[in-house]
Amino acid sequence: MRATPAERLIAGLTVGVLTAVVLVPMAWALVTSLKTEATVIAFPPTFLPSPATLDSYAAVFLQRNFATELFNSVFYAIGAIVLTLAVSVPAGYAASRMTFPAKRAVMLLILATSMVPGVALLIPTYFVLDAIGLLNNPAAIIVLQAARLVPQTIWFMQNFVDAVPVELDEATEVDGATRWQTFSQVILPLIKPGIAAAAVLGVITTWNDYITVAAFAPNLARRTLQVALVNQVFDSIGITWSYVMAFAIISSIPIVALFLVAQRWFIAGLTAGAVKG
């Protein structure tokens, strides 16, 4: 497409305005987190913090439950993605490579579960977990989080296995390899970019979740950074905005860092699909 200079100018302006719309709210949160308790509520508000201080960040790290909340966030995210991949990668492989009579029914079932919204499951899940005594259970949280990721991860894996030429499987099986050996030694190494992309998406989704943990593991010792953040807003008495902003920023840093790294994986995944012969 040959854009005229005028079109380029308008495109540049549009991107510039959108970038400002996106960045200014984040910048406001950042400068707020660096202000003192007194200057945060100064009127008229000033943009630059004067004096600038890291007190709020220190306060977040020194908060009594911070280590527990951070640990839970990491633990649930890693646990959920490990469980998701453990059940979805074999299923995605089978969906791509196996034919059997009930396959259509199985795939429709997986599709149907993907359409059940989490909110419709809030009440029955609470009902069931309460009945069997699994409220505030970390393993239950991991299983619940994983179940939300499994359907889309199966399709994702199926697409990546589809992109591997089936002749590769046949060649290995002619050499006497079992199905498991073909899967683990031929397929798995080739679908690594897909696994990485699914893992990154799953970790971001689980880390950012508030509802599941707030609903089914509200206990102080079980809650995550996201739940702690929202609870601070509710405890509006004695709320310090510089502290809330510092907390929100700290809780986002791992995810934003992961996202910046993930750009590469997405490109790798797209190229793997495009190279397919």
């Binding site: 497409m1 040959r2 495109a11 549009t14 991107v15 959108l18 996106v22 406001w28 949160a29 945060v40 509520i41 009127f43 508000p45 943009f47 469980l83 453990a86 074999p90 299923a91 089978a94 196996m98 034919t99 059997f100 396959k103 259509r104 199985v106 795939m107 429709l108 079932l109 599709l111 579960t113 359409m115 059940v116 919204p117 909110v119 419709a120 009440i123 029955p124 609470y126 009902f127 069931v128 619940l144 994983a146 179940a147 359907p151 199966i154 046949e170 002619v174 971001i204 950012n208 979740d209 508030y210 509802i211 609903a215 929202v230 807003v233 809330v244 902003m245 995810i255 934003v256 996202f259």
Partner: protein
């Protein structure tokens, strides 16, 4: 060799144990965590309950009482305004952002990363950022409005403006999703088509209408459906920004289900609303499948 590999293939297609082993763990997980609770919520919606205790069978009685209550229709109206209002902002914003990025070429990839940032943040974080930006006493937005002579009012605390502001924040957070999918759709347009329309005189609008639109309309439609499902089931952002208030002005179906699930109220009306959300999602999901042409099995 050929004969034995043929025999192999047929034995696999008759063999039930192999696919069960490979699919089994995923199916067990989806049965216990998704399908079984779905059956439970259907049962709860048809039961007489006190809190979480089931007292007996109610049949469609719960459905009748929910569907005939004015409160339910207020929630329905809010849910629809919220969904349609958010779509009305994010679809054009995402499409034009993708078009602008495609046109500018140089530096586009860095700007794309910057513009994607809101979508990576959690709803809790986005809610906190905007709660502070929209603070009526100390926030920069109310200050800016006052300094140009406008009356900001209570912002999120005003029943007349709360839903609109909720929509604006939702759009800020979710337009990057549209942008990414539109960028992918734009890349599928062959360069020759642009050249052909340029020869006919070109121009932005003819190009948008005759080259871009026919290639992105299906993607835009499926994106709209995926987002509709998300907006209809979204809770956290509403919880942080308004808590469903003031006086229910921003309460939606899903928000109502969440709030009532942990309050000391009868659970069956919320179960009914859960089923309604489920059915609407299934319908939107089926249209989505039609549009994306995803064939199962």
């Amino acid at each position: 060799m050929v004969a034995s590999s043929k025999a192999d293939v047929t034995s696999i297609s008759r063999d039930w144990t192999t696919p069960i082993i490979w699919f089994g763990p995923a199916l067990v997980l989806l049965f216990t965590v998704t399908l079984y609770p779905t059956a439970v919520v259907v049962w709860l919606s048809l039961s007489r309950t006190r809190y979480y205790d089931v007292l007996g069978w109610a049949g469609v009685g719960n459905y009748v009482s929910v569907l005939t209550s004015a409160a339910f229709w207020d929630l329905t109206l809010n849910s629809l305004i919220y969904m349609i209002g958010s779509l009305a902002i994010v679809l054009p914003a995402g499409l034009f952002a993708a078009l602008a990025l495609q046109t500018m070429k140089r530096g586009a990839s860095s700007f794309r990363v910057l513009l994607l940032l809101p979508w990576t943040l959690s709803m809790a974080v986005v809610g906190c950022f905007w709660l502070w930006l929209l603070n009526p006493s100390y926030g920069p937005i109310s200050y800016a409005m006052k300094s140009i002579g406008l009356t900001p009012g209570l912002m999120l605390g005003d029943p007349d403006t709360a839903l609109l502001l909720l929509i604006v924040v939702t759009a800020w957070w979710s337009f990057p999703y549209v942008m990414v999918l539109m960028s992918a759709a734009l890349q599928s347009i062959p360069a020759e088509l642009y050249e052909a329309i340029d020869m006919d005189g070109g121009g932005f609008w003819p190009r948008l209408r005759h080259v871009v639109w026919p290639h992105v309309d299906a993607t835009l439609g499926s994106t709209a459906l995926a987002l509709s499902i998300m907006y209809l089931t979204l809770i956290t952002l509403i919880l942080v920004l308004t808590g469903g208030g003031p006086i229910g002005a921003t309460s939606t179906w899903s928000f109502e289900v969440f709030i009532n699930a942990f309050r000391s109220v009868d659970v069956s009306p919320s179960a009914v609303i859960s089923i309604i959300v489920l059915v609407v999602n299934l319908l939107l999901g089926l249209v989505y499948l039609r549009l994306t042409g995803r064939v199962s099995g």
